[in-house]
Amino acid sequence: MLIAVRAAVAAAVLAVISLLGVTLLGATAAHAADASLVGSFTAPDGTGLSEVSITVSNEDGFSETGTSDANGDFAIVLPGGGTYSVEIDVTTLPEGISLENPDDASRSLLVLGGEKKILTKLVEGEGGGGGGGGFIDVTGDQFLQLLFDGILFGVMIALAALGLNLVFGTTGLTNFSHGDLVTLGAFSALLLNTAGLHLVIAAPIAIVFCAIVFGWGQNKVLWRPLRKRRTGLIAMMIISIGLAIVLRYGVALFFGAAPQTYKQYAGQVGISLGPVTATPKALILAGLAVVTLVVVVIWVQRSRIGKATRAVSDNPALASATGIDVERVISVVWIVAAGLAAFAGVYLGMTQNSVWNMGQRILLIIFASVILGGLGTVYGAIVGALVVGIFINMTSLIIPTEMKTVGALFVMIVILMVRPQGLLGRRERVG
């Protein structure tokens, strides 16, 4: 009996529906309303599933049914951005294939218009075009749009990178769980938002909550005792990896694997600002982020505790000898770092969506930023993040968008070869 049940479970696991690359067609911002949903149905062994029906509809009465081709690929043209419900007709799946989670048969999906990255070439779905299509002419407007999108993205990365760098500077810890602090920020706000609080109220509460619990608390419970035991930096790095795994899968456990959006400001339409387009929420978030970054920089440069932070970064033993309470400085740094990361999480959750592995996805981009700018430096984190953010967006002019992160990682490796201390780092031996 149990064996039979087991067999049924195994059959369910066979169902791998790779949902769904959502890609916007359209060459410029003005055409961003032309959206489409492309994706493919793939069996566990990787073969495409043909003749599977999928229906996309919205509240305005739009409804379109697509059927996958011989490779399992499908594409449905949508009238524009917004929330759609996507339904897979499970009866059209081949025998022996079913959904791992039957609830996934229908779900709602947010297709963003305007500010979700405008692709510079017509994207053919997975397997649609082989070479990914040729290049199109780049107009001045697109250039500016990508530059602008890059700055907006870079500002978000800067929030996370600055926190990572402050922690690294004062404690020497390369924190692999920093990305998951970003995730926790997004989901703390989501939790409050789903509980009924308006996002404008939920977001600041979530950020303060993260700063205290995941910043001050994390340092108090985990890192401070480890420093007292004189745990090595490599051991601490590995502990941060363990923590990252716990947090990431913990979020997946409590919130599920599907991307989620906040109740407010979800499907905002972009407004045009001269040559570029952006959603009002992205502009406001970027403005707030810039203000935050400036405040933190001034704080580090001018305030007593900020100066103490720099002293500790420079030489903890010497700082301690001059009467600075090093542990107190580190506590403050953790609070600031976790708060900044939570802000980055809300930013990312509002402009894209909140998903359990969002932090892991941007972790390497954050690392690339801090290495580019200089590990442990305050200005370096910000400059590095802006450069990386712009670079990632601009490179989609010349390389396929799916590979834009590759470019950033490659540049990071090159930087390490020619200038390992980063653009603004002090020259010291890192080899």
Binding site: T47, M403, L416, M417
Partner: protein, 329 residues
């Protein structure tokens, strides 16, 4: 609750194909990290290189599997050179970030549409990748199943050859680390400047350790492609490397048998909790969880286990604290 079923499944996975793949990856890391002190966080790239060599040579170019194994080893060597030459002079934390970035760079490149014709894009390469190996299967055709362990005829043959491979690699590592080469490498881990002052070219030794560890990891990837007859780019996520590290640290880094013991215990625990929770949910013992939560819980427990291990017993089960202090900077 069928305890027999839980135990059977757990044992089968604890010494099964996946355990062998992770064991080989961890042996590679043991050479790099345990003995040479290189914090390679991109081991999964070497595993992927081995898998893709099999996929591309056998499926895309329709050539022999035996040639593919050779190509896999060559590709892993080239990858180690490519990765090592620019980065091996860097400090441990920089090396960690660069290698993890390189492994993601590798994954994103092989899954891209640009190389779909050769590498299969996001779907990867699927087909009769290991047929030539499976044709050599000496087990009787009417083979049903071993008592307790529920492998198919095909899997059992992979498991037998796989563990022989693990044994051979372990002997090789054992011989190497007690040779003069091993002493120099361990010396680099302990005090690089001291070894330099003895006139040794530290860089070359590090590079050799990276290549050796990478090739061993690639062997794991070859086993993977042959056993699963499929190469999927998104299975080569950074988490693979972290699991391999957990295995290494569980068994004990810088111990020849560490990765083997670690892999078996790791998969015993991971499979055991998975099977147990799955059964307990079905039996109605746990009603606040859905069967789909089991995978996530396993990983949460695994991460917590890794933290606990590093906090309370950083030398692992068989490790020697004096051998590897784990606090070089």
């Amino acid at each position: 609750m069928d305890w027999g079923f839980v135990l059977t499944q757990t044992m089968t996975q604890a010494i099964g194909v996946t355990a062998i793949i992770y064991c080989l990856a961890a042996i590679g890391l043991n050479v790099q990290f345990g003995y040479a002190g290189l914090l390679n966080f991109g081991q999964v790239a070497f595993v992927a290189a081995g898998s893709y060599a099999v996929g591309v040579i056998v499926l895309t170019f329709d050539l022999s599997l035996w040639l593919a194994i050779l190509v896999g080893i060559i590709v892993a060597t080239l990858l180690a050179l490519l990765l090592g030459i620019p980065t091996l002079r860097l400090r441990a934390d920089y090396l960690a970030i660069v290698t993890i970035a390189a492994s993601e760079l590798f994954r994103l490149t092989v899954r891209s549409i640009a190389f779909k014709d050769v590498l299969g894009g996001a779907q990867g390469l699927n087909g009769k990748l290991g047929q030539q190996f499976h044709d050599t299967n000496p087990l009787p055709a009417d083979f049903e199943s071993l008592p307790v362990l529920s492998w198919t005829r095909q899997d059992l043959w992979v498991v037998i050859v796989g563990w022989i491979l693990v044994a051979a690699v372990t002997v090789l590592v054992w011989l190497l680390v007690r040779s003069p080469w091993g002493r120099v490498v361990k010396g680099i881990r302990e005090d690089e400047d001291a070894v330099v002052s003895l006139g040794k070219n530290v860089f070359v030794y590090k590079l050799q350790a990276l290549i050796l560890g990478g090739v061993i990891g690639a062997l794991g990837g070859i086993v993977w492609a042959v056993a699963k007859q499929s190469v999927q780019p998104d299975t080569f996520q950074p988490d693979f490397t972290f699991f391999a590290y957990t295995i290494l640290l569980l068994g004990g880094a810088a111990r020849v048998f560490g990765p083997i013991v670690g892999a078996i215990i790791f998969w015993f625990l991971l499979a055991g909790t998975g099977e147990f929770l799955g059964q307990a949910i079905q039996a109605g013992w746990i009603d606040f969880l859905a069967p789909t939560d089991v995978g996530n819980i396993r990983f949460v427990l695994m991460g917590a286990g890794l933290i606990a291990l590093m906090v309370f017993r950083p030398q692992g089960i068989f490790g020697d604290r004096k051998e590897l202090a784990l606090d070089a900077r």
